[in-house]
């Protein structure tokens, strides 16, 4: 992988970290608040279904996580197992795409 791509991946990791920092604070606060009196599916879905703003928020959250997590895994796999090169890049790309699709599906299930 050339230096320019390495720099782009580094920037992507930091930029998504900044987005995730905001998203996680919102996620933690709403989660702790929502779980005060226990959870039922009807209670959750009654609040969330059809909420476009929260759906958009969680799509951004998922997109950032789908970039950030595979890049972190790439570093760990390269440093721990000395796995490098095209096979690692392909594996990480597949992981990122899978997380994006699964995450978008989960957001749709709750907010769609």
């Amino acid at each position: 992988m050339n230096a320019r791509t390495q720099v782009l991946l580094w920037v992507a990791q930091r930029a998504t970290a900044a987005v995730l920092a905001l998203c996680i604070v919102v996620h933690l606060v709403t989660m702790v608040y929502a779980m005060r009196n226990g959870l039922t599916a009807a209670e959750i879905l009654g609040r969330t279904r059809g909420n476009t703003a929260w759906f958009a928020f969680y799509l951004i959250f998922v997109a950032a996580a789908a970039v950030h997590a595979p890049l972190g895994m790439r570093t760990i796999l390269a440093e721990t197992l000395a796995w490098r090169g095209r096979t690692l890049d392909c594996a990480v790309l597949v992981l990122g795409c899978a997380l994006a699709v699964w995450g978008a599906r989960a957001a749709w299930a709750v907010f769609g």
Binding site: A17, A21, A41, W102
Partner: protein
């Protein structure tokens, strides 16, 4: 192990690195399960309720609290790294480490004890 390795590994920043790496790894492994669980809502409220009922077990509650702690630790550790890289606050490293640990613990306890 060389003496330099030992000194490096006894430094708080090394343990911050280990916590950040381990929490990131565990969170990345957890994400697919989290998405699968939320996806249960596609099969209707009853399916999601069955899953939520399963999560009432003590060991799942314990694991949930651990996950919240991991998320808070990765968040605060990540913010610390961003500050070190972009804000040149290097003299404040230990303060940031202590803040990271304290905030993570507070969030984990807030979740575990339902104090909010």
């Amino acid at each position: 192990m060389r003496s330099n390795d030992f000194r490096a590994r006894s430094h708080p920043a090394y343990w911050a690195f280990i916590v950040h790496r381990l929490s990131g790894l565990l969170l990345a492994l957890f994400l697919p399960f989290h998405f699968w669980a939320l996806g249960q809502a596609l099969n209707g409220a009853a399916s999601l309720d069955a899953f939520l009922h399963w999560t009432e077990q003590p060991f799942v509650k314990f694991a949930e609290t651990g996950l919240v702690l991991l998320l808070a630790a990765h968040l605060t550790g990540g913010v610390r790294l961003l500050m070190l890289e972009f804000l040149a606050w290097r003299d404040w490293q230990k303060t940031l480490l202590a803040l990271s640990a304290g905030i993570s613990l507070a969030v984990g306890l807030a979740f575990a004890l339902n104090v909010v």
